[in-house]
Structure formats: C-alpha cells, structure tokens
Symmetry: C2
Subunit: 424 residues, 2 copies
C-alpha cells in the first residue's frame, strides 16, 4: 500500500470531518500570499503548506529532488516531470511530517510560522502550464441525451461511439483556475426564424460537468501508450467546467467541430489530486459491448467512484445543487482515452490536460449540463428562490465539487467556481 494512503493516519493539523483534504489526500497546487510569491503547495484540512519552505527547512532531505528550487515555481510542470517515484516519495514524506505522532514537527515553531497558511489567506493559481488539451466525449448517457435531442432517439449514438473514445482538441490558453469569472461570449449564431446569421452575446450559455487528468510523463513522437502503461503517465485529476455557448456551437461546428463555442473559458479546481490518492476508490466502469479493439482492452478496475456535484448560485441568492453525478458513469476510462490519444503516434507532454466530456448519469438529477437538465430549454429548472433556468444567466455562479468517500476517509477537490459576467 502507498504509505500516504494509510487510512488510519491522523494529522496534527486540524481536519474537519467533511474536509476534502485529510492527510490521505495531499494534493499539489500553486499558491501565493500577500507576502510570498508563487510556490508549490499542498493542503491538509484548511491549511495550505508551502512546500518550498518545507524544503528550505530540510524536511525533504534525502529525497531524490534535483534541487529545492523545484518548489519555487509558478507552475507544477517541473515538479510533476520528476516522475512518480519522486512525487510519491514527497507525498509520503508530507504524510510523515504532519502525522500526529510526529511531535518534533508538531512543535517546530519555525515550520508552523513559515510553511503553514490558512487557506483563506492564500490565492490559488493555475497549477500547470497546459500544453495540449483534449476534450473527450466519454459519457454514454450524455452522448445519448445529445443524440436524442438533436438527431434521432432510435440512433442516438453515432456508429463510431462504442468503438473508440471520441474526442477533439480544445483551446489550452483559456483554461483558468477556480475563482476566475468569465464574460458571456459574443459570436455568430443563426436564429431558427432567420435566413441569416446574427452577431451578439450568446443566448444559450451552459456549463459541462467534467473531470480532467493531467499527464506527468512525456512520450516521443511515434510512440504509443498502452492501457497497461497509461496510469504511469497520469499524475492526477481536477474538476473541469467546460463552459459552452450552445447557440454559437450550433452554427459554427460543421464540419470541423466546436471552436469558439468552447474557447472563451474553462474553469478547473486548483488542487491536482494524485491518482494514487484515489486508489481506495477504484471500481469497475460500465460493461463495454461490443468488445473493444485490442489496443483499448484493459485489465482490472480502471474507473473511480467519485461523486460530482454542480451548484448554481444566482446573484444575491443561495447556492442550489442542480446535479449529482459520478466519475464511474464514464463508459471510456482514462487508460483507454490515453491509449487512443497516442495509438497514432501522437506525443504527449507533462502538463497536458485530458477532459472526460460531460459526465451524465441515468436520471435528470445526474445530468451534467443545463442543455440536458432543461432538455434544450423545454423543461426549465425551478430554483428555490422562485426563479427558473433554461440556461445560465448573467451573474449566476457555477460551482462544481467532487469527492470520493468511504467509511474511513474522504478525498476531494475543493471546488471549481466561476461567475458569469455580462458580455463586454
């Protein structure tokens, strides 16, 4: 078992029962404070740990770190690129350091004063420099809902869908960290009652509940990653809100796919939770029929039981849960996605991001987008404040949260939060 995963370990840092960040999580992110510049951090409970300072104080001595400056960076790419043998060793060391039995550390006033910050006092930044970003389309329920709404209920899935994890390239530059607010985009749309397209603010603004994995090990051009090797290339996971302009998409997307409908902003949670932290939550995904091709076959449990929630918060109102879904609903798992991505020899880099596509479950309560929840606007969602929503309105905040939980521990992401501002 991974040392850091010991479910019985407790920390001398206080952790509330419903925290996403027990000592078994130990995620990685980039933060800054009023007085310290960007640095690599981790988190236990409501405490952010400055790993550059932990390194300075010698607590990482003996680990195979090239030098301590790897934690004095504004992005995690270099740290992640050291490989799992190093990043897992750092997680194990952090677990030991903050273990309640470690009374030396617990009484180290220098450590406490220099390396620990209240989470409310730090600003979280983008955790990685994203090289390439792929968005898959791997939830059968989502693909069926969309196919039913826009094509043919009897042939909701296109012929290729069960043979390969459909995906497309997305825009990296506009992936931003939780807390970044996004203006409603403007663009071309073609109203149903018009012969000509018109220009203006998007009218069908939506979120998509997704997760994304971040790669931590590169490959060369011409190389492929097998499903068996894939998890060695996956560093960890974030929540991914793939904001979407449905009306812009409808007019622009033929024949080459979504473009401006997706590139105005995607909002991720700030902490990358390692794949290792989710080890206790492995589960089987949906059974795949027809049988997949050899390069997509895999051994063992490659899915994870992670509850995913979306909340909508209108201006001056309470947040209201509009969706509860689960990562395990995904038909195609991450190992298959990465094997498919690279089967043609496409090279991957450290810091690439691979999003799942909208993760919908079987019922309306688990649908991962307003498009599905309101069924193209035909069945508006009633909010507790008396308002209704077909799509997202200006000044609505969208909050995504996700966590895995068993009888001993809960491993979560914190949140991805964004407020939709009026068009500029």
């Amino acid at each position: 078992m991974i040392k850091a995963n010991n479910p019985d370990r407790k920390s001398w840092i206080p952790v509330s029962k419903d925290s996403d960040f027990p000592i078994q999580n130990i995620p990685f992110g980039i933060f800054k404070t009023h007085t310290t510049g960007p640095a690599v951090g981790s988190r236990i409970g409501n405490t952010v740990i400055n790993l550059a300072e932990v390194a300075n104080q010698g607590y990482f001595d003996g680990l195979k770190l090239p030098d301590k400056t790897v934690f004095q960076k504004s992005r995690l790419n270099e740290f992640i690129g050291l490989g799992k043998s190093v990043t897992n060793a750092v997680r194990d060391r952090i677990a030991e350091l903050f273990d309640e039995k470690n009374t030396d550390a617990k009484n180290d006033k220098e450590l406490i004063s220099q390396a620990l910050h209240d989470a409310d006092d730090v600003e979280m930044l983008m955790p990685v420099e994203v090289g390439d970003y792929t968005d898959f389309y791997s939830s059968e329920e989502h693909a069926r809902n969309v196919g039913t709404m826009f094509r043919d209920p009897d042939n909701a899935l296109l012929p290729n869908w069960k043979h390969l994890p459909v995906g497309y390239h997305g825009r990296s530059s506009s992936i931003v960290v939780s807390g970044t607010n996004i203006h409603r985009p403007k663009g071309q749309t073609k109203p149903a009652d018009s012969d000509q397209p018109v220009f203006g603010p998007c009218k069908l603004f939506d979120f998509e509940l997704e997760m994304a994995f971040v790669t931590g090990k590169k490959t060369g051009l011409g190389e492929s990653v097998t499903t068996g090797e894939a998890e060695n290339h996956i560093f960890g996971l974030v929540l991914f809100n793939d904001l979407s302009a449905r009306d812009i998409q409808k007019w622009e997307y033929q024949p080459l796919g979504p473009f401006l409908a997706k590139s105005f902003g995607s909002v991720i949670s700030p902490w990358i939770v390692t794949l290792e932290a989710f080890e206790p939550f492995r589960t089987d995904g949906p059974q795949q029929k027809p049988e997949v091709m050899d390069y997509l076959k895999f051994q063992g449990k490659k899915s994870y039981d992670i509850t995913l929630d979306v909340f909508l918060q209108p201006e001056n109102s309470q947040e209201h849960r509009v969706c509860r879904s689960n990562f395990k609903y995904l038909y195609w798992n991450m190992a298959q996605q990465l094997a498919h991505q690279t089967v043609n020899g496409c090279n991957i880099n450290v810091g690439d991001m691979y999003a799942s596509g909208t993760i919908s479950g079987p019922e309306r309560e688990s649908f991962g987008s307003m498009l599905e929840i309101s069924w193209k606007g035909t069945n508006p969602l009633k909010l507790p404040n008396g308002e209704e929503r077909k799509f997202i309105q200006d000044n609505d905040s969208i909050i995504m949260r996700g966590f895995a939980q068993n009888d001993k521990i809960r491993i979560g992401f914190g949140e991805s939060r964004t407020k939709i501002l009026p068009a500029k």
Copy 2:
C-alpha cells in the same frame, strides 16, 4: 518604408539569384551546430548568422534588448515577445551590418569566424514553443472540392462557410520542424465493404499545403483583436504541411471534428519570415460575397502574393512538382482569422500557430492535397518515373517551398521536408 526592406540593398554575404534569403528577408529561426548549442539565428544567402554571437560582439548595442541572453535560447518565444519595435529594429540592424557598404563589418574576422555558418553545417530546430494551434479552412476552392467529393456538388459549401472563417483546434505537440520524418499512423478505419471498423496502418495518407502565422503579442482572456489591430499581433509566417490520414478521419470525425487523423505530425519550415518582409507583396484577396459581419470587415490589402509549391519525391527518384498554388487564393485573410479567433474573448499567446487550411487554386495543378489532385483516388497522378500516386506511399518525401518574387527581390521560406516512413 521599413529600412530592412530597401530593395536596392546588397549584402557582402554572397546571395545567389534564386535564393529565398536575400538581405531583404532576414528571417528568424533556431539552429545548432556540432559545437554550439541552440541559438537564435537569421540567414542571408546560404549563410546562417548566429545572433547570440552578433550580440556578444556588441553589434546590437543601443537597441532596446533586455539583455543579450534573449538570443541564447532554444526557442524564439522570448525574442518575439519583445514586440515588433524591437524585432524590427534587430532586422534593420542586421541589414546595416551585412550591407555591402559596411566595410568595417565585412572585414571583421572575429564576426565572420564566430557568427557565420554555412547553412549546410547547421541543424535547424523548432523555431517556437507552440502554445495553441488552430487550423482554419479558409480556401474556397479546397472547401468546394471536399464538399463536392463528399457531399453535394450543388451545395458544396456548408451554410456557415462564407459567414465565418471555419476553423478548429489542433494538436500542438506534434508540430515538428522540416527534416523530421514521420511514421505512417495506425488507427481505426471502417472499410466501405465492412460493417465493422478495422485497425491498421492508414491507407489514405495525404499532405495538405498550408501556411501558418505565428503570433508575437499576447492578449488577455476576454479581449478581442480587431482586423485593424491583427497585423500587430502577427510576427511572421511558415510553410505548414498538415499531414492527414483520410481514412482515419472519415471514421472518427463525427460529431466533433478531426482528431487522430491530424495529430501524428505536422511539418513546418524552420525560418519564420516576418510579416514585414512580405510588405512589398501585399495584394487583394478574393472578393467576399455576401458582405461579412462588421467584426470581419477590413481596410486595405490584407492578402499576400506568395507562390506555394509541393514536390513529391519517391525513394531513389527525383522530386516532381505536384502542385503550384498561391497564398492569395485564400478567401479569408489572416486579419479576419485572428479577429474571429478572439471575438469570443479567447486569449492568444506569443508562439501560437494559426494555419490557413489547405490552399487550393482553381485548377488541378493548384490543388493542395492528394485527395483533390487524385480526386479521391479516381484520377491517379502520373509521376515522371512511371509510377502513379493516389495517395502518399511509404518512403515518399513531401517537400513544400514558397516564395514571393518581383523584379527586384525574392523572399522565401526555404522548405518543409518530410519522409513518410512505414508504420511502426
């Protein structure tokens, strides 16, 4: 007029009459030699100029460079990011330095021995770290040919085509520099005579003759670039060979666009030729009807008269020109492409690459892909060595060249060259 563009200037470095690199070009690239590491270079005739060494010897003194190390880099991003006021001043200074009237420089043995290399003795590397890569679809002739072959000759263009520059996000990681050979990709295809998809090497391997522009000035999320401002954001141009697996594309691309059919390799020319160098070759593009929306309107000549050639060279055979096209055929110009890319608030970065899409002209001789030249394989191309080609075969080399020429000067790219190796 831009000083470096003086058409009457001659260099003390020999330049043959048909060279792409007279003293009016002064492109930028990254090179290394057996003895020197990667550095920023320029080129006159067959001579590569080490700009790090030129800077060391004080010839850039007085220019607003932050420090000389900007030339000691393995990518151009930092240099380009200094902005046009600096990069144009560097071009002007290089023009003065190598002007035949500059006898001091001509007799500077230290400069000659340390900064100048025969082009045959250097290896060209990727010029930029590509952040995001977009591939447009901006040639009407190409779009019409594809639409005629695969849909309906009477409705070859989709309804959106003349209203917006259709484009999609591509894979950055697999953009490589000329001289990099590419293995034929493997993947899923669905043969016409089969109910089920099969796995194996691509059978319909193609090139696409494109050009790409590289951005040199970033914007923030939520900002838009107007057509009037666009050229201030465009640093320069490269040839772009968008290798394509037609059979993989056909099976995978619905509904989200091309993915693995494009991500196994795209090959660019190594020298970025600045937009300024092409100033004498401005021309009007095709007339646009219907009238475009306001954000796509533009003033002045926004197209460039640049001849574009593709050569095919079978193993142990001579190269043979299979296409002569022209950049000016593009319906949508670069200013419109960048205005469209950012109209939704999508942010751009220094080093982004924006490819044109296949540039086809009106006749078969100017079609920019084998798909069009062989009309889906129905009209094979006859080669001088007696062979025929419907698509690209193993060990074929594809060479693209491009140049603009008037009665005084010729500004070109050198070449983009790749050999297609058998599937791994």
